[in-house]
């Protein structure tokens, strides 16, 4: 300790300040950077654990043949994830606004109930909804049976041109050729239930933090609730909305259980239905070199996706100015 006490102030200050951020540096280098660099190194070899033959970029060149469905998986992520993000953010924002307009007791109950699905493991959520959507005995199947069993509901259905409602095979147990729309609906539904509450809570806090004086002044000037929401509240929490959109994208990308179960068990084995890269990564477990190559393609794809998104965002903001 005496050694530290007699140190020059500047060195001592540097040591103390860096000791605070030491955990971050340790975790980053050991568990983030080193694994990625290691997988990059491994991706240049063939059969790394046996003969470890250096092949250069051949693994990357062979990705198209060795890893079937990688292109479709990336395309699915590119199209489906932004749709999910937009749907979740819109529902969360409007739910938060509705909650702020209710009495305090309902607000407190709503916060707890909204946060509940977020606390459940994704495996549980997928299990719950797999049972809900199960085509034979699930809740939706029971609902369809109930609609078909009652005369008045059948009459209502005839208005739409159908006497009875057919069973919907959301989970594609029959391995049909075109399950995509139902599977997408199912995943969207699960994600909305799981994450909407969390974002709704964040928006609720943001809306609460807006000073009442501004809203009251606008109301006195004759603005309606709709005007206040669209012209005052949304512009004021604009930065928060952007941050939450990015956060929800990261959540959806990182929480993989549902995607893996979709890719491996529910979807048919045809390559064009491979939902995401997560399932592919599981399948490549035995082939470390191709796994390294796929991981790096996916990392570069994500970085490119975020960069393009960032540039588009800046461009739109510049054009709107």
């Amino acid at each position: 300790m005496k050694f530290i006490d007699v140190m020059p102030y500047r060195i001592k200050n540097t040591l103390v300040s860096h000791s605070f951020i030491l955990p971050l540096i340790f975790v980053f280098f050991v568990f983030n950077l080193f694994p990625l660099v290691n997988s990059f190194y491994v991706s240049f070899f063939l059969d790394y654990y046996t003969e470890a033959r250096f092949v250069g970029f051949d693994n990357y060149r062979n990705l198209e043949n060795e890893v079937k469905g990688l292109g479709y998986a990336l395309l699915n992520i590119l199209i489906f994830l932004p749709i999910c993000v937009v749907v979740i953010q819109i529902i969360a924002l409007f739910s938060a606004k509705l909650i702020t307009r209710t009495p305090k007791i309902i607000q407190n109950s709503a916060i707890i109930i909204l946060f509940l699905p977020f606390m459940l493991p994704e495996s549980t959520i997928s299990s719950i909804f797999a049972n809900m959507f199960f085509s034979e005995t699930g809740l939706l199947a029971n609902m369809i049976i109930w609609i078909n069993d009652h005369a008045f509901t059948r009459e209502i259905m005839t208005v739409f041109g159908e006497g009875t409602v057919d069973k919907v095979d959301f989970l594609n147990r029959n391995r049909s050729d075109s399950p995509v729309v139902f599977i997408y609906t199912y995943i969207l539904f699960c994600w909305v239930i799981k994450y909407c509450g969390f974002f709704c809570l964040i928006y609720y806090i943001s809306l609460q933090s807006i000073k009442n004086d501004i809203v009251e002044a606008a109301m006195l000037e004759g603005a309606s609730v709709k005007d206040v929401f669209y012209k005052i509240e949304i512009p004021m929490i604009k930065s928060m909305i952007g941050m939450m959109a990015i956060l929800s994208l990261i959540f959806l990308l990182s929480k993989s259980t549902l995607l893996v179960s979709m890719s491996r068990s529910v979807l048919p084995d045809q390559e064009r239905y491979m939902f995401s890269v997560h399932g592919l990564l599981y399948d490549l477990w035995a082939n470390v070199s191709m796994l390294g190559a796929t991981t790096w393609v996916y990392v570069l794809f994500l970085v490119a996706m975020f960069l393009i998104g960032f540039i588009l965002f800046k461009l739109i903001r510049y054009l709107l100015k």
Binding site: L24, P35, T102, I106, L116, F118, T137, W285, L302
Partner: protein, 260 residues
């Protein structure tokens, strides 16, 4: 007119709450179900005996319960402590490469956990941490999201003059951290505790990949395997998080703080 509008809001919120809680409640009812069938609307099959039967069946997973508790408690404690330390360091001190540290934080958030899992497995193998519960919590002791939340709290809510005053009085940086900062950060720490505990408690992928033997896996892994067990498993998994959520009254204080 105002009453009418409020009525619409209240009804809408109640419908949203119902839609969210209904599937979870159905699952809860199903834990009382006697037979090994999926969720049914026939109430005559429900029995309290069904719940105890399932609980008895789940008893074999007590070992996994202890692993989960150990990992969740250790992970939550260290991740909260280190989040506060890093956030305090980044907010208070001036670093030469401050932007680099922000880039590190953003990089850690940006690259999904799942992508890192497979190279990460190779790293753990190199470090000899396979089949060791240390591997379930040690890599997550400095979570970026928690660091950002604490840092936001320090930057926006806290009065930094308190730290200057303590320095003038002769307190060292570590002394300031645990005597002044940690008590002030209590509301933010409450949020971090809930988020981190939920994260460690529900961690699923890593447990499946790293642990070879069933006794070493955590509780979340039992959910997907057998159907009747998955119901009672879900009930067991959600209870500690729920208790913690209700216990953390500071969350409400935090919300009220921003509500003013």
């Amino acid at each position: 007119m105002n009453l009418n509008r409020n009525f619409i809001s209240i009804t809408s919120v109640l419908i949203i709450m119902f839609l969210l809680i209904k599937p979870l409640l159905s699952y809860f009812y199903a834990s009382f179900y006697v037979y090994d069938l999926p969720i049914s609307v026939n109430a005559e099959h429900y029995s309290i005996q069904g719940f105890f039967n399932q609980l008895k069946y789940a008893n074999q997973y007590m070992v996994n319960f202890y692993v989960s508790i150990k990992v969740a408690l250790l992970g939550t404690f260290f991740s909260c402590l280190f989040s506060c330390m890093v956030a305090y360091g980044l907010s208070i001190f001036k670093f030469r490469f401050l932007k680099l540290f922000y880039c590190i934080l953003i990089f850690m958030i940006l690259i999904p956990e799942f992508v890192k899992v497979f190279p990460f497995f190779i790293t753990l193998k190199t470090l000899g941490l396979l089949n060791n519960d240390l591997a379930l919590w040690l890599p997550y002791v400095a979570p970026s999201l928690s660091i950002f939340i604490i840092k936001y709290y320090i930057d926006v809510v806290m009065n930094k003059e308190v730290i200057e005053a303590a320095r003038i009085d002769g307190a060292g940086e570590w002394r300031i951290f645990y005597s002044i900062m940690l008590p002030i950060l209590k509301p933010a720490i409450a949020i971090i505790v809930v988020v981190q505990f939920t994260h460690f408690w529900t961690a699923y992928d890593l447990s499946i990949l790293i642990m070879n033997e069933d006794e070493l896996k955590n509780l979340a892994h039992i959910n997907l395997y057998v159907f009747p067990l998955s119901i009672i498993g879900s009930m067991i998994v959600v209870v500690p998080s729920l208790v913690l959520f209700f216990a953390a009254r500071s969350i409400v204080d935090f919300l009220n703080l921003y509500g003013k």
